[in-house]
Symmetry: C2
Subunit: 82 residues, 2 copies
């Protein structure tokens, strides 16, 4: 079994109101040295065999991310004991 992680984040130029809300709440926890909060999605895919990364790229592009406003990165390699 192989695990592939796809991280999907809003492109830097796209406003992130969810992250902004968290940033605005931080002073309530006395945290004042955080300059930016961005919130995205982390998707963990588990494959029964080896993962085909070209396939993962297609899945991310068509199903997991909206390429107009989001970027994704793929992390492979974590071997999972069955």
């Amino acid at each position: 079994m192989a695990r592939v992680v796809v991280d999907v984040m809003l492109k830097p130029e796209i406003l992130d109101p969810q992250g902004q809300a968290v940033a605005n709440a931080l002073p309530r926890l006395d945290v004042t040295d955080v300059t930016s909060v961005r919130i995205g999605r982390r998707i963990e895919l588990e494959f029964s065999g080896d993962a085909d990364l070209d396939r993962v790229r297609e899945i991310a592009d068509k199903l997991l991310a909206n390429p107009v406003i989001e970027d994704f990165t793929i992390h492979a390699g974590e071997q999972v004991k069955a």
Copy 2:
């Protein structure tokens, strides 16, 4: 500037309908070797100075994750050029 990433995922025993929906859609892309899809959040925090990881743990616990149903992991170290 330091960047800290907090990954928040549902605990393994909690049902993930969003991931299930993606898993159910995969055969439409002719992908049949994915056994599990789990979807969580990736939060990127940027600090003006060095990041205090105990502080980040407190932020994650109180603000970013719901410890009843979610686990979080903290990745530090990415140095960001200002």
